[in-house]
């Protein structure tokens, strides 16, 4: 359908195979042919899996769900980059027109101590859920809210909060970081709520708790290389990390737990 003109590709794939979390894995080589440039990267994997099933082999396990770039479930490390060569897209939105006929493509799972491999390309990212559970919320029970327009929020603040809140929790930032740091993910939530009046009452405890949980989960430290921002499919800005550092410093000096 594309106006770009559909072509077909023959490719060599080197894919990480690992039976489960207790076994060692290795790269396995597969050839695929007749791949349309209009296909998404995951549709190319569908083709490969269909082929494997028909050959009586086990298909490659990978996480995916919405296939429109918003659920954050797909997570492939393609040629050494989370979500592949194109900036600002998730694996499901990466299309084969970004590759050339005859290419060899290496596909691995997210690599981080805090994201153990479940099988093949699927990893366990429940550490992110636990970080949110430690403070990524406003403590307001259902039914206690006043009329929405009673809270005035300057448009620029609302926009900044939205841009931080656009994080999809995919973990590409962690996978991209040589230290396996989750600072971009954590700071996006801290920033969103620090920018809004609703988040202020708990701002101090929030940042301390979330950073504490992040450390406990085994994520590494931030050394300001900026790889996370460069690889983030949603363009979450490094400014969030700076804001979180300010919030953290302020809170650790002034927060008194009663």
């Amino acid at each position: 359908m594309s106006g770009s003109g559909e072509k077909t590709l023959n490719l060599t794939l080197k894919v990480w195979r690992q039976k489960n979390g207790n076994t060692k894995g290795n790269l396995e080589t597969h050839k695929v042919s007749g791949i349309s440039t209009d296909m998404s990267f995951l549709e190319m994997f569908d083709v490969l899996n269909e082929k494997l099933i028909n050959e009586g082999k086990e298909p490659i396990a990978f996480d995916h769900d919405c296939r429109e770039g918003i659920c954050g479930m797909c997570s492939m490390y393609i040629n050494g980059r989370p979500h592949g060569p194109k900036q600002g897209v998730t694996t499901c939105q990466l299309h084969m027109r970004s590759f050339k006929d005859g290419d060899t493509i290496t596909v691995e799972p997210w690599r981080s101590v805090a994201f153990p491999v479940i099988k093949d390309l699927a990893v366990d990212r429940s550490a992110f859920d636990r970080i949110i559970a430690s403070g990524g919320f406003v403590s307001v029970n259902t039914g206690n809210a006043k009329d929405a327009n009673n809270i005035l929020i300057p448009k620029d603040d609302a926009d900044d909060a939205f841009n931080a809140a656009a994080c999809i929790g995919c973990g590409a930032c962690v996978a991209a970081c040589k230290n396996g740091s989750a600072m971009l993910f954590v700071s996006a939530k801290v920033s969103q709520l620090a920018l809004l009046p609703q988040g202020l009452p708990e701002a101090k405890s929030r940042v301390l708790n979330m950073v504490g949980q992040m450390d406990e989960e085994g994520f590494g430290n931030c050394t300001n290389t900026g790889a996370c921002e460069a690889e983030c499919p949603k363009g979450i800005s490094l400014e969030n990390i700076a804001r979180m550092n300010r919030e953290y410093l302020k809170s650790s000096l002034t927060y008194v737990k009663k």
């Binding site: 770009s4 489960n20 995916h64 406003v138 929405a148």
Partner: protein, 661 residues
């Protein structure tokens, strides 16, 4: 006319008083007793997450199950355009009654008045709640919330966060849920799939779930079981649903006695990116909000192969504006979809497949550009300058959608019109529920898209988010008391109870059966075959002959599936093909019921269009004398159902031929 087996339990009183009065008189459970009452919630989308957070805040012991790796992945996340609420912030005459009226009319007079009115009443509270949670809705420069229009309405009542409203609302509900998880009030079971309901003495008392990583089956007890498991659009294989969206939980409930309501009511959304080839795995929606600023057209000349930008204004047919001047490009979805199909069937389609129409932002980009130029006091700006300024305005409103379109098609929609075509998007049908959201199995509830209740035969845009959150935040926390207040003496049932043992054994047997077929065809092969039958014969247009042939084709497909499907790997491990196989097996059974329901309904209404029943202008023709009822199907055995009818009474709205002209 209503079946004796169906009691909708609609409270007495005037429409305006029903909910207020009921809410104030429904039985309560005291805080000490809540702590010993356990509630199982399956699904973590808007309905499931909001219900889980709210019930846990009230003190109930809650367990939440989802098949994804995190509750935040649920497909509510993908909703784009917005959420409706009768706030009247725009001072344009909106009211609870108007939202209620628009929803009933939009649903083509096939929804329950009392439920829809309640939905309208709580709609405002939803916005308040979400803002309090820190959901960053779009705002005006004065700091107030911004609104836009959606189809089927003439007011601006849709709240939004760019084209990612579902994401922001879900993350709000998810954070409320995670807060309860952190406090230990909710226990979370991610990567778990519900594979059966356990029914003891006629009441739902738990579920059997499969741990998707280890493959182990687990038994879980609950005083009540809430299904918030979404819709079943993936029965068509290609839809805008996520790859994992499925009917399995609802279908297991159906097989355990929950009636299925109006299964044939499917929403085909008018603005999706067209299918591009055989390899395609899913379809992508382009939000209805785009119809605020995009004009839909096809060339006036059939088979016109010129580039859209080369076709002059007077050779374009803005067919929605032509046919429906009052609502124009913002007619409801069913109407817009049928109109697109009509033009394409008549040979006016565009693109290489000819199954597409244009959605063109050119005119409004220039209009916005002119306004911006005025704001910036630019005198005599060039056309390019105006276009550039307009482009920025459009970008701010719909930037992420334009990017997505470009990613998928390789074309830049700022330069050329989008090509769009209708695609399966939402299912109005679902488990039949009463006013309390309880299914026909006591103790088992269905929330959000999983139930049938509020949208009749066609859902209006931006109302799915509203309904999911209404059910979870503001309905179930009250209505569940009606049932659980009677359960305070029920002790947790031990998991070695024979009903749990039997249910687990049945699930195990089915898994073994799937693993042992060792046939020759992949699960996807069967899913695609089913999808083709459904789309061709039970899709945008249906007729008796096609439906009859679809039913026998589906029966044959079911037989073939159970003889020839190939599920690789083992059952006691992470096995995505096994998960899919179970879901497709259920879709095949559901597909047959959808066709039977469509065949039974000898009328056209909303998303259900029977070719035999249309006006001379091609509009849907209802038969209110014979079909003003909810079709609630009771399963006797696979392939055999009994129909029950719930009569729909319209006491507050005059039932009329729907017109958007």
């Amino acid at each position: 006319m209503s079946s004796s087996k169906l009691d909708a339990k609609i409270p007495e009183g005037t429409l305006e008083q029903k909910w207020t009065k009921y809410r104030s008189t429904v039985h309560l459970v005291n805080p000490a007793n809540k702590r010993s009452l356990e509630v199982i919630i399956v699904g973590s989308g808007l309905a499931g997450a909001s219900a889980a957070a709210s019930l846990a805040e009230m003190g109930y012991k809650v367990k939440v199950f989802c098949f994804q790796d995190s509750p935040r992945r649920a497909h509510s996340i993908a909703a784009q355009g917005g959420i409706n609420a009768a706030k009247n912030y725009q001072n344009d005459g909106d009211s609870v009654y108007r939202l209620f009226y628009d929803t009933i009319k939009g649903g083509d007079y096939r929804a329950r008045e009392a439920n829809v009115h309640r939905l309208s009443e709580v709609s405002g509270n939803i916005i308040d709640q979400c803002v309090a949670q820190g959901v960053p809705f779009a705002r005006e420069y004065g700091g107030l919330l911004s609104n836009r229009s959606f189809g089927g309405t003439q007011v601006q009542r849709t709240f939004y966060a760019a084209g990612q409203t579902g994401q922001q609302l879900l993350l709000g509900a998810y954070s409320a849920l995670q807060r309860q998880v952190g406090m230990g009030a909710v226990k979370l079971y991610a990567r778990h799939e519900m594979l059966d309901v356990v029914v003891i003495d006629g009441k739902a008392r738990g579920i059997i779930a499969r741990d998707l990583i280890s493959g182990k089956l687990e038994r879980h007890f609950g005083h009540a079981v809430l299904l918030a498991t979404g819709g079943y659009g993936n029965v068509f294989y290609l839809s805008t649903n996520a790859m994992g969206s499925n009917v399995t939980a609802a279908w297991k409930a159906h097989k355990k006695g929950a009636f299925f309501g109006n299964p044939c009511y499917t929403q085909i959304h008018p603005t999706c990116i067209p299918v591009s080839g055989d390899h395609q795995s899913k379809l992508t929606l382009m939000s209805e909000s785009l119809r605020n600023d995009g004009r839909i057209w096809v060339p006036k000349k059939a088979g016109d192969n010129r580039k859209p930008t080369d076709i002059p204004e007077d050779e374009r047919d803005y067919y929605l504006e032509r046919r429906y001047p009052a609502f124009g490009n913002l007619v409801p979805r069913d109407v817009a979809s049928r109109a697109a199909k009509e033009r394409c069937d008549a040979g006016f389609g565009v693109g290489s497949s000819k199954l597409a129409v244009y959605l063109d932002f050119g005119a409004n980009m220039m209009r916005y550009g002119q306004i911006e130029a005025n704001k910036q006091s630019l005198h005599n700006p060039s056309q390019e300058k105006i276009r550039e300024l307009g482009r920025d305005v459009v970008k701010e409103k719909y930037g992420n959608l334009f990017d997505m379109y470009k990613q998928i098609t390789g074309e830049d929609p700022y330069e050329v019109p989008m090509r769009i075509y209708p695609a399966v998007h939402y299912t109005m049908g679902g488990l039949w529920v009463d006013y309390n959201l309880m299914t026909t199995v006591p103790g088992m509830y269905a929330l959000g898209e999983a139930n049938f209740s509020d949208h009749g035969a066609n859902r209006l845009g931006a109302s799915a988010l509203m309904q999911g959150l209404a059910d979870g935040y503001f309905v179930i926390p009250y209505t569940i008391g009606d049932y659980l207040s009677e359960e305070i003496r029920t002790k947790a049932i031990p998991l070695d109870h024979e009903a749990f043992v039997k249910a687990e054994a049945d699930v195990q047997e089915r898994i073994n059966k799937l693993m042992n077929i060792k046939g020759t065809k992949s699960v996807d092969h069967f899913h695609k075959a089913l999808g083709k039958i459904m789309w061709d014969k039970c899709g945008m247009a249906r007729n008796a002959e096609g439906l009859k042939s679809a039913i026998s084709e589906i029966q044959k497909l079911r037989e073939e599936f159970w003889k020839d499907v190939r599920v690789p790997g083992e059952a006691n491990e992470f096995n995505l093909e096994l998960e899919k196989a179970g879901r497709v097996a259920d879709f095949i059974e559901l597909g047959e019921l959808m066709c039977k329901d469509a065949l039974n309904r000898n009328e056209s209404c909303g998303g259900h269009f029977r070719e035999e029943y249309q006006t001379e202008e091609g509009e849907a023709m209802r038969d209110d004398d014979n079909y003003a009822y909810v079709a609630a199907w009771e399963m006797k055995e696979v392939g055999n159902w009994e129909l029950h009818k719930e009569e729909l009474k319209y006491e507050n709205i005059k039932i009329a031929q729907r017109s958007y002209k």
